[in-house]
Every structure is written in structure tokens, then in C-alpha cells.
Symmetry: C2
């Protein structure tokens, strides 16, 4: 299990926070995700043998945000 | 409920991660905490009517880390 912080552009409200956190935690291998709205970032704890940063990036982009 | 990211110096391993996350989540008003070990940071979701950044900083410092 490892952790990284991704910069996410376009999050403006709690709906965005929920969308990004849910998109991440629904991915197999993602344990926890915590968005910092003011910092435009999301901290993610994940199993790097199961999920890649590329997959997580795509999941966020699918919600309409830039990583 | 709001979120912030604090920079924490001195975390080197998963024991440090647990110590910092537990110190935060044991505080009333702290909802979630997620350490990024490589980034030397912790993202915290908290109720600002219950707990202050000062209190969270002190809780981390009490564990032997610098904020």
C-alpha cells in the first residue's frame, strides 16, 4: 500500500469533492481518497500491485477534471 | 467540514504514518486524515467549529514531528 497526491484542476464545490473521491475509491486497489479543495489536490492510498496512477488519473478525468 | 493539507517533517515509515493519522483522528472534530509519506504531508478533513489547525499541529508535534 502506498500513497500519492495528485493535483486536480476544476474542483469547485463539495459535489466535485464527492465525484473525485468516489471515482477513485470505486477503483479496485484504491483504499482511501481525501480531496483538499483549496489545494486542488487529492491524497490517495492505493495498492500499486492492483491499480496504477494512470488508471486513477483516467477515473478523475472521466468525471470532467484535469489531473 | 473543511479540508487542509499540513506539511509534516520527520515521517519516515508506516509507523510514523499511523502515529500521525491516529493523533489527528483521535481529536474531536477530525473526520479523516491521510498521510502522503513521499510528499511529507497529511490531508485532513475536519469541522472547523470543533477543532483548530493549531490543535491539530500540536497533536502532530506531540508525536515528535514538525509541522
Amino acid at each position: 500500500m502506498t500513497t500519492t497526491t495528485l493535483n486536480v484542476k476544476g474542483m469547485t464545490c463539495n459535489h466535485c469533492v464527492q465525484a473525485v473521491e468516489s471515482a477513485l475509491t470505486e477503483l479496485p486497489g484504491v483504499e482511501r481518497a481525501l480531496v483538499d479543495l483549496k489545494a486542488n489536490s487529492v491524497a490517495v492510498q492505493f495498492d500499486e500491485s492492483v491499480v496504477t496512477i494512470k488508471k486513477m488519473t483516467e477515473a478523475i478525468e472521466d468525471q470532467g477534471y484535469d489531473v
